[in-house]
C-alpha cells in the first residue's frame, strides 16, 4: 500500500497541469462535437492538432532535453505513416474492429520508425551540432524519396489508406497525446531524465560522472522516433492518400518552430505552440482564397516573427511579466512565505537563460517526496 501512499503524497496539481489541460480540452471538444456546434472541418483540425502535439513533444525530447538539433523528424513520421498504414490496410481485411486495427498499426508504425531512429542515432553519437542536423536533414529527404519510388506504397501517387471516422479519430489522437505526455514527463522527471539533461548541460562532465552518453543519446532518438511514427499513423488515418510531399523539410522545420516557440525543454509550451501553429495554419488556409492564398505564408511568417520577438526581446520584459500566467495567478494567491518558496521550481523563472526551462524540468519527484514527508511530520 505504501506504493499508493507514495503516489498520493507526491501528487500535486502543478505537476499534472498538462494532463488536466488535455483531458479538459478533450471533454470540451467531445461535448461540442456531440451537440453539433463544430463543423466537419473543425473536427478534422482537432486530429491535426493531436498529431502535431505528439510530433512537437517528441522532438522537444531530442532538441530541448538532449540538446541535439534534429531536422529530420518528419522522416520518422513518414516511416510510421507509410508502414503503419499499409499494415493497417492489410489488417482491415481480416479484422472488423477499426479501433483494433489503428492500435496495431500505430504500434507497428512506431516500432519501424524507432528502428530508423536507432540507425540515425548511431551517427548521432559521433556527430555534434550542425553536422548532426545535416545528417538528420538528409535522412528525412532520403526516406520520403525512397517511399516515393516504391511501387508497393503507391509511388508518386501516394499510399491509399482507409481514413478513420473523423468524428472519432481526434478522440484516439488525444488519448495518444495523453499517453505520450505521461511517458515523456515521467521519463524526464526520473534519474534517466536527469542523465539526459546532464548531457545537454555539460557532456564532458556527464561522461566524467560515468553517464553512458552513447546509450542515452540512442535511447532518446529511439523514443522520439517511435512517437513520431505513431503520429504518422494518426496522420495516415486522417487523410488519404499518404503523400511523400507532406513529409518535406518544411514540415520538419514547422515542428522545430513549434518546439522553439514553446520554449526548449518546455513540454507545456510545445503543446500550446503546436496547437496554435496548427490552428493558425488551418484558419489561414481556409479563409484566404483566390489570390490572397499567396499571402498565407507571409502572414504565417509575420505571426511567427511577432511571437518570437515578444517571447525573447528584452524590451517586452515588463509587459510579459505583467501578463504572464504566473502573474495572473499570483493575484489570486496569498504571497508565499520564503520557506515555502524554497522549492526548486520557484527559482526557475529567475534565470535569464537562453534555453528557457520550465517547471516540467524543475519539479523533481524527489522534491515532492521530501516535501510530503516534511508536512507529515
Amino acid at each position: 500500500m505504501s506504493y499508493f501512499k507514495n503516489i498520493k503524497s507526491t501528487f500535486k496539481v502543478k505537476n499534472h497541469v498538462n494532463y488536466i489541460g488535455v483531458v479538459a480540452f478533450l471533454v470540451l471538444m467531445i461535448i461540442l462535437t456531440s451537440t453539433g456546434v463544430l463543423s466537419r472541418s473543425s473536427i478534422g483540425l482537432l486530429s491535426r492538432i493531436a498529431y502535431s502535439i505528439v510530433m512537437a513533444v517528441s522532438l522537444n525530447l531530442v532538441v530541448g532535453f538532449l540538446g541535439e538539433l534534429s531536422l529530420g523528424h518528419a522522416g520518422f513520421m513518414c516511416v510510421g505513416a507509410y508502414i503503419g498504414c499499409s499494415v493497417g490496410n492489410i489488417l482491415s481485411q481480416s479484422i472488423d474492429s477499426s479501433l483494433l486495427v489503428i492500435i496495431i498499426s500505430m504500434l507497428v508504425g512506431g516500432i519501424c520508425a524507432a528502428f530508423f531512429g536507432f540507425i540515425i542515432g548511431l551517427p548521432a553519437l559521433r556527430l555534434k551540432g550542425d553536422y548532426l542536423a545535416i545528417v538528420t536533414l538528409a535522412f528525412g529527404e532520403i526516406v520520403r524519396n525512397v517511399f516515393k519510388n516504391l511501387p508497393y506504397f503507391g509511388g508518386a501517387m501516394g499510399l491509399n489508406t482507409r481514413p478513420y471516422n473523423t468524428k472519432e479519430l481526434y478522440i484516439i489522437g488525444f488519448v495518444v497525446v495523453l499517453i505520450v505526455l505521461v511517458l515523456i514527463q515521467n521519463l524526464i522527471r526520473s534519474k534517466h531524465g536527469r542523465a539526459i539533461t546532464a548531457i545537454r548541460d555539460n557532456e564532458i562532465a556527464a561522461k566524467a560522472m560515468g553517464i553512458n552518453v552513447t546509450f542515452y543519446k540512442l535511447f532518446v532518438f529511439i523514443i522520439a522516433a517511435f512517437f513520431a511514427g505513431v503520429a504518422g499513423v494518426l496522420y495516415g488515418n486522417f487523410t488519404t492518400p499518404v503523400l511523400y510531399t507532406f513529409f518535406s523539410y518544411n514540415y520538419s522545420i514547422e515542428i522545430l518552430v513549434m518546439v522553439v516557440l514553446g520554449g526548449m525543454g518546455n513540454i507545456t509550451g510545445s503543446i500550446l505552440a503546436a496547437t496554435l501553429i496548427t490552428f493558425v495554419n488551418f484558419e489561414l488556409q481556409s479563409n484566404l482564397s483566390g489570390d490572397l492564398a499567396a499571402l498565407r505564408l507571409l502572414i504565417y511568417a509575420l505571426i511567427l516573427i511577432i511571437v518570437v520577438l515578444f517571447n525573447n526581446a528584452p524590451a517586452f520584459k515588463n509587459i510579459r511579466a505583467k501578463f504572464s500566467v504566473a502573474a495572473l495567478l499570483s493575484k489570486f494567491q496569498k504571497p508565499k512565505k520564503p520557506e515555502d518558496v524554497s522549492d526548486d521550481s520557484a527559482k526557475w523563472d529567475v534565470i535569464e537563460s537562453k534555453i528557457s526551462m520550465n517547471e516540467v524540468l524543475s519539479v523533481d519527484i524527489t522534491d515532492e517526496i521530501a516535501k510530503a514527508e516534511k508536512e507529515g511530520k
Binding site: K191, T197, A198, A208, M209, G210, I211, D343, D344, I369
Partner: protein, 256 residues
C-alpha cells in the same frame, strides 16, 4: 588487494611532435593524500586527463587497485572508481544543487531502475528516488550545501561551486578522487575549510585522493606525498617537505 591504489608506469602522451608528459611513475597508497604540483604548463592536468580517459596515453599504462584501466572510455573508468573535478568548473548549471549530486549517484547499483520503470512509475521508481535523495542530502551535508540544495548550481558563489563539484564526484562512490585545483579562487577561510573537508572525506570515506594545487601552504598542510612535474617530466617525488624543498623544485618555481 594491490599494494598501491593507483600505480602509473612510464605514463606519457605525445601530441604530434610535442611530448606533453613523459615517464610519470606515480605510486599512491590506499587512503593517501597525494599532491601533483608544478609550474603552469607542466602537464598536471594532462596526467588527470589520461587517468580519466579523456586522452589515451601514448606510452605506459596505469592500474587502479591492480586493475589496468588504460584504453577504457571515460564512463567506464568512472565506473571502475576514478572520479574527478575540473580546473574550470563544469557543473550542470541549469540544474539544482541536489540534482547535480543525484546525477553523480546515477550509476550506483543500489539505485538501479530501468527507463521503462521510470516511464511507468513502478514502485521501484519511488523507492529508489527516495533513497537517492537521502544519500544526496547526506553528501551535501558534508560540504554545508544542504540548505542550498534547491538553488541552481550557477547561482552558487564560486567557492561553493567548487565544493559542489567535489560532492558530485564523491557521489559516484570512487576509490580514487582526482581534484584539479580545488582551492583555486577561494579565500583563505574557504581554503582552510576545504582542507578540513578533504581530510574528512579521506578519513570517513576511506578515500584515496590525488590533487593538483598551486597553493603550497595547502599542499604542504594536506598531502602525505607529492610529485613535482616540470615540462612534462618528473622533477622530484616523495615526502612533501623534502620534495618541495628540493633545490631543483625551487629553481623551477622561482626561475633562475
Amino acid at each position: 588487494m594491490a599494494e598501491y591504489m593507483l600505480e602509473t608506469q612510464n605514463l606519457g602522451i605525445q601530441f604530434g611532435g610535442l611530448k606533453a608528459v613523459q615517464d610519470v611513475n606515480l605510486k599512491i597508497k590506499k587512503n593517501e593524500l597525494y599532491g601533483l604540483v608544478g609550474p603552469n604548463g607542466a602537464g598536471k592536468t594532462t596526467v588527470f586527463n589520461m587517468l580519466t580517459g579523456v586522452y589515451q596515453p601514448t606510452t605506459g599504462t596505469f592500474f587502479l587497485d591492480g586493475e589496468e584501466l588504460k584504453g577504457m572510455t571515460q564512463e567506464a573508468i568512472n565506473r571502475k572508481g576514478i572520479a574527478r573535478t575540473f580546473q574550470n568548473i563544469r557543473l550542470f548549471n541549469n540544474m539544482s544543487v541536489i540534482r547535480n549530486v543525484l546525477v553523480g549517484l546515477h550509476n550506483q547499483p543500489e539505485y538501479k531502475y530501468s527507463p521503462a520503470s521510470a516511464m511507468l512509475r513502478t514502485p521501484a521508481f519511488y523507492e529508489n528516488e527516495k533513497k537517492m535523495r537521502e544519500r544526496a542530502k547526506e553528501i551535501l551535508r558534508i560540504f554545508d550545501l544542504e540548505e542550498e540544495r534547491n538553488n541552481l548550481a550557477c547561482n552558487l558563489p564560486y567557492g561553493k561551486q567548487r565544493k559542489l563539484e567535489i560532492a558530485r564526484a564523491l557521489a559516484t562512490n570512487p576509490k580514487l578522487l582526482l581534484l584539479d585545483e580545488p582551492a583555486a579562487g577561494m579565500n583563505p577561510n574557504e581554503t582552510a575549510e576545504l582542507m578540513d573537508q578533504i581530510k574528512f572525506i579521506r578519513d570517513n570515506f576511506d578515500m584515496t585522493i590525488l590533487l593538483i594545487e598551486h597553493d603550497m601552504k595547502f599542499v604542504s598542510g594536506l598531502c602525505d606525498e607529492v610529485t613535482v612535474l616540470n615540462f612534462g617530466t618528473t622533477l622530484a617525488q616523495g615526502d612533501t617537505q623534502t620534495a618541495l624543498n628540493d633545490p631543483e623544485v625551487i629553481k623551477a618555481y622561482i626561475g633562475g
